[in-house]
């Protein structure tokens, strides 16, 4: 079967590549673009470790055939830190709050948090729990992650920090 030609914006950069039919966004990111922050956990949309932001919405990238999102605006964890590598508020809060242990869920957790904070800069604890309810962590017991996201929200409100998800839907 012929390959498909894909053009998408990834972390503000126009990218174009060929994929085998049926390739998921997750597969394209990892195999074609070398962006390996998004992980393949379950391949079923159950674990959330592949969470990326597509056109302003957090989605499970393993469930999205990349051929269906031609022209989309995709953001991955690689596109979250500021130019020069300075960590953004969520990354910094995760690091300083020990919200990551083995790290496998961290990319998805941070991207789900980015989508939450873009929509709701002042979330309650319950809002945070809801926002990451599709993301599984098997190390931390979630408390440190929830606290880090609340901390990040506070940091971002204090500094008027950059919103990495622009425009929403």
């Amino acid at each position: 079967m012929p390959k498909s030609y894909i053009e998408v914006l990834v972390n503000d950069e126009p990218r174009e590549f060929l994929v085998q039919p049926g390739t998921t966004l997750l597969g394209a990111l990892r195999e074609e673009l070398g962006l390996t922050a998004a992980k393949r956990g379950c391949g079923q949309g159950t674990c959330g470790t592949c969470t990326c932001i597509v056109d302003g919405e957090a989605v499970m990238s393993c469930l999205v055939p990349v051929e269906t999102i031609q022209g989309a605006d995709v953001r991955t964890l690689e596109g979250v830190a500021r130019d020069g590598g300075e960590l953004d508020e969520v990354q910094a809060a995760f690091l300083e709050g020990f919200a990551t242990q083995c790290g496998f869920c961290t990319s998805g957790m941070i991207m789900a948090a980015q989508a939450l904070l873009a929509e709701n800069p002042d979330p309650s604890r319950e809002d945070v729990v809801r926002a990451i309810s599709g993301n599984v962590c098997r190390c931390t017991g979630y408390e440190s992650i929830i606290n880090a996201i609340l901390d990040a929200a506070q940091r971002r409100r204090a500094t008027g920090g950059v919103q990495y998800v622009e425009g929403g839907v």
Binding site: P21, G22, C42, V59, C62, L63, P65, S133
Partner: protein
């Protein structure tokens, strides 16, 4: 073998693309893609609805019309569908709801498909498109029971938006967020003063498909909405239920708790 992916730009093209052997509709991908990714499937072509113009919500004069490819998240955020927000928020996680669609929810297996249970209680109508420009409108009960035909695709769902006072919904879950249903109860009550003039009660987790609890409806209708009658309706709900075993709950457990959740739903407990 990896399936091909078609991204047609009209309903007619969707129907045309479904002609091939092994072609399936790909709406949000939350059911089809797990099958593609993790099973020895025989899917040859995925026909995406993403660009087929089937996304959008219109609420006019109390009647809602929702395009089949509208996401659950969009329904949950719509101001005039606020009465359905508890239904939407009981389904999966926000990241899944950003993908999963209204049309797709009609075709997921129990104990998923809580919106389908709600649509059954709402007596929704479903628009279906087929080959040669054919289109029809069917009761959601028929679509839930029979599915769509070959080369047919659901294009929209329509229903009268219920008053909050008439609407009942409860979903028993294993945990507060992101769990399939143990049992789901949705109901529209026609309340005339203190008397139940009419009732439509639908159940999830109570069979292979969402079902109407007609015996419970009869038990409830024609009298006051009080504890005793709601309890009797809950017991009667078992007559229309065929509870099943799965990883979430045993058939025994579902059968034990169904009357309780029907009663609680009806009384708003």
């Amino acid at each position: 073998m990896a399936p091909s992916v078609e991204v047609p730009e009209s309903v007619g093209e969707v129907v045309g693309a479904l002609a091939g052997e092994g072609s399936v509709v790909l709406a949000g991908g939350t059911v089809v893609m797990p099958e593609v990714n993790t099973t020895a499937h025989d899917l040859r072509a995925l026909v995406s609805l993403r660009r087929a113009g089937l996304r959008g919500i219109e609420v006019d004069g109390g009647r809602a019309v929702i395009g089949a490819a509208t996401t659950l998240a969009e329904v949950g955020k719509h101001e005039r569908l606020a009465v359905l927000r508890p239904v939407i928020e009981s389904i999966a996680s926000p990241t899944i709801r950003n993908l999963a669609t209204v049309g797709g929810n009609l075709f997921v297996k129990q104990p998923y498909g809580d919106l389908a249970v709600a649509l059954l209680a709402l007596d929704a109508e479903v628009d279906v498109a087929g080959p040669d420009g054919a289109s029809s409108t069917r009761p959601v009960a028929d679509v839930l029971r029979d599915g769509a035909g070959e080369r047919e695709v659901v294009t929209a769902v329509a229903f009268d938006v219920p008053d909050a006072a008439a609407w009942r919904y409860t979903k028993a879950m294993r945990r507060k967020q992101n769990s399939a249903s143990i049992v789901t109860v949705a109901a529209v009550l026609g309340l005339d003063g203190g008397t139940v003039g009419a009732a439509r009660i639908a159940l999830g987790g109570a069979g292979a498909k969402p079902v109407r609890a007609t015996a419970a409806e009869q038990a409830l209708t024609g009298g006051p909405l009080d504890h005793d009658r709601a309890r009797a309706a809950g017991e009667a709900a078992l007559q229309d239920a065929e509870p099943f075993d799965d990883a979430y709950a045993s058939a025994w457990y579902r059968g034990r708790v169904l009357p309780v959740h029907v009663r609680r739903a009806l009384l708003g407990e």
